[in-house]
């Protein structure tokens, strides 16, 4: 995957670029807004990681210009700005996701993978399937191996999100943001409890587990053999 990194803090940039390369991506970098915009418009990228505050051209302006040129590359904003209204501003300007510094690298990696997945055109799905687990989005029902699973509405949304990102790491923050629409960290990790409940419903009594904990990162749902 080709990734564009626009970050003026050179150390953070080096770290990002190295990390992404280690994760197997092809990375271009720019240290200011203008160079970043030129690169974004001249080459195809699967995802762009753009700092909010950049020299020469503000991150918001870079994305707004990209969108004006009909460039639809998914953009993840990185920002040291406080969240309360900056997040909204970033998403309004055309950003697809927003991550506040300091962040965990696994969080960033999980998010850009989710963004890249979003980009590849998906047929409007009415069914999601992972292994023998099936989710019917129209009837809002789930079954595994032909046996119906009784899910609470929120459990359904949680499972749906996990299955839409099957075989990808999904972090707790991502779940909290997209399933609960909360943008804060609860003091206790309540997500873990929700996951273990869900796990009890979909994995208990089956030989192969589908819902996995990714140590230090989050969760992943995947079929036994990938």
């Amino acid at each position: 995957m080709r990734i564009l990194v626009v970050e003026d803090d050179l150390e953070a940039q080096r770290y990002l670029v190295n990390g992404l390369k280690e994760a197997g991506h092809v990375v271009d970098d720019a240290a200011d807004g203008e160079t970043g915009l030129t690169l974004a418009l001249s080459r195809p990228y699967d995802v762009a990681i753009i700092d909010r505050m950049l020299p020469k051209m503000d991150g918001l302006k870079v994305v707004a210009d990209m969108r004006e040129h009909s460039n639809v590359t998914p953009v993840l904003f990185l920002s040291a700005l406080s969240e309360v209204d900056d997040r909204v501003k970033g998403l309004k300007a055309g950003g697809d996701d927003y991550l506040t510094k300091p962040y965990a690298f696994v969080e960033l990696l999980a998010r850009i993978e989710a963004l890249m997945r979003r980009r590849s055109p998906q047929a409007v799905k009415t069914r999601l399937q992972v292994g023998d687990l099936e989710l019917d989005l129209l009837t809002r029902t789930a079954q595994r191996g032909g046996a119906a699973i009784d899910l609470q509405p929120r459990e359904f949304r949680l499972l749906e999100y996990l299955m839409r990102h099957a075989s990808q790491v999904v972090t707790r923050t991502m779940l909290l943001e997209s399933v609960w629409e909360y943008h804060f960290d609860p003091q206790t990790n309540v997500i873990d409890v929700h996951i273990s409940r869900l796990r009890a419903k979909i994995d208990k009594g089956f030989d192969t587990a589908l819902l996995h904990t990714v140590r230090g990162a989050g969760y992943m749902i995947r079929a036994a053999r990938v």
Binding site: G19, S82, E83, V84, P102, A104, Y182, H183, F184, Q187
Partner: protein, 493 residues
């Protein structure tokens, strides 16, 4: 509405329409008018009464002198000419038809001669000057008139009554005493009306200032007090206030900028620190002893970041940054969502998390911050409730406004401690010594302050009940009454 949950400005505005009557007595302007008019009316009455009594005394003493003169003269005649001579003289004087009134009577007060028909009943004893009524025959009418005179005992047991007709003066006096209350009444009415108008005018100007202040307290720092064209003291006050507001706005902006740059300056090194630790961890690979140490360091860093973020959020809430992002929100779904988020955690701990059914409870607020504050309260409640206990979350509408309640059956906090705990978390510095738990409540308190709500910790018997009391959504914040400005426009034209 409990006084503690209401700003003075809000109270002022609230009293504007609904309870005008008490306000008339409560406002300084009206009070001044009342006192001033009362003092003025009393002064007018006193002045008039003084003039009245003085004039009357002067006139009386004039009359009395004339009477004394006649008495002396007639007495001299009596001593010289005897009773007959006096009777003749009196008969002559009586027939003149002037203001003089005479009556010579024997010791039984029976008339001998004079132009008074009978001895006035009120005049039984000789001595001082007195006023009395007498009857006078004119053509074919008998009229009662007023006279003032004195009885003089003559030697030989006769009585001589000498008086002057003072009827015209008496009528004038009467006129005066009957019109006095009316005059004072008129003074009162005119004074009150004029003073009321002046007070209203003054209050209108003050109301403009108060309304603007209330809006500014409500978070709209861009509002300014309208300045009239007259350059009077109110305009001077308004100008001063506006200058002050400009300065405050500049300072607030400065504080925000500083907070933003501090945030940036701290976040960047924290970011690098975490990055380096993570890179090192990747290179070492998991499992080794060093990796464990570095993982612990990453966890410490994350704790630092969490605390830092909480501090920033509290600072932001206190700076009123989110005031502009308030909307009308229903607390019921907010409570449901948070309860739903924590329900599995409670179940895992063996605590019953109960959601009290509530109707829609609408407040003006920031959903995200209220959710977070509520989450902190529920988190704490579950943390401090032993197995088998229960935590109840409620949103309810009270006559005083909306309330969010999180009650647990844990150990609670002793009453003395409770006050201290709330006190302590009012100031950020005091709670710094205990991060984690401390900042959780601090944030709740900051969110409460942002919403003009009060955070109260109460005894749940047993356990603790944390209550956030929100004030009633005020119409002012959404649709600021345009009255103030219209009035100033009217006053300006």
């Amino acid at each position: 509405m409990p006084p503690e949950s209401e700003t003075p400005a809000a109270k002022w505005l609230r009293s504007d329409d609904a309870t005008f009557r008490p306000r008339v007595f409560r406002t300084q302007a009206y009070r001044i008018v009342f006192v001033y008019v009362a003092v003025f009316a009393v002064s007018v009455a006193a002045l008039l009464a003084f003039t009245y009594w003085n004039t009357k005394r002067a006139l009386d003493s004039q009359t009395d002198q004339v009477i004394e003169g006649e008495i002396a003269e007639l007495n001299a005649q009596y001593l010289q000419l005897g009773l007959r001579g006096l009777a003749d003289l009196i008969a002559t004087r009586s027939s003149h038809g002037g203001p003089g009134l005479y009556l010579l009577a024997n010791s039984f007060q029976q008339r001998i001669v004079g132009n008074l028909d009978s001895w006035p009943r009120t005049l039984e004893h000789p001595g001082n000057f007195v006023e009395f009524d007498y009857k006078r025959r004119t053509e074919n009418q008998i009229e009662t008139r007023r006279a003032r005179g004195r009885v003089f005992p003559l030697a030989g047991g006769f009585y001589l009554l000498i008086a002057q007709d003072v009827h015209e003066r008496y009528l004038t006096e009467r006129l005066f005493t009957t019109t006095l209350p009316w005059t004072v009444g008129l003074v009162l009415v005119l004074g009150l009306a004029g003073g009321g108008l002046m007070a209203r005018n003054m209050l209108r100007r003050l109301d403009q200032i108060n309304r603007t202040s209330a809006e500014i307290i409500g978070g709209d720092l861009t509002r300014r007090v309208p300045i009239g064209p007259s350059h009077d003291e109110f305009d001077a006050l308004a100008e001063n206030l506006n200058t002050m507001l400009d300065r405050i706005e500049r300072l607030m902006k400065g504080v925000r900028e500083v907070a933003d740059s501090v945030a940036h300056d701290l976040r960047t090194p924290l970011n690098r620190l975490r990055n380096r630790l993570e890179t090192t961890l990747r290179h070492i690979g998991p499992g080794s002893e060093q990796a464990g140490e570095i993982e612990a360091a990453v966890a410490e860093t994350d704790q630092l970041i969490t605390t830092f973020n909480a501090l920033l959020l509290i600072a932001e809430a206190d700076a009123g940054v989110a005031r502009g992002k308030m909307s009308m929100i229903d607390l019921a779904p907010v409570v449901e969502d948070v309860a739903e988020l924590y329900e599995p955690l409670a179940e895992e701990k063996g605590v019953t998390l109960k959601l009290s059914p509530a109707g829609s409870t609408v407040i003006e607020g920031n959903r995200s911050l209220i959710s977070q504050a509520l989450a902190n309260l529920v988190d704490n409640a579950i943390k401090y409730t032993p197995q088998g206990g229960r935590v109840t979350v409620t949103a309810l509408e009270t006559p005083d406004g909306a309330e969010l309640r999180v009650a647990d059956s844990g150990q609670g906090i002793p009453e003395a401690e409770r006050a201290r705990v709330v006190e302590r978390f009012v100031r950020l510095d005091a709670s710094r010594s205990a991060p984690g738990t401390g900042l959780g409540l601090s944030l709740v308190a900051a969110v409460a302050r942002l919403h003009d709500a009060r955070l109260v910790l109460e005894d749940n018997k047993p356990g603790l009940r944390a209550v956030m009391r929100f004030p009633r959504p005020s119409p002012r914040a959404k649709s600021a009454p345009p009255r103030g400005r219209n009035e100033s426009a009217a006053a300006a034209s």
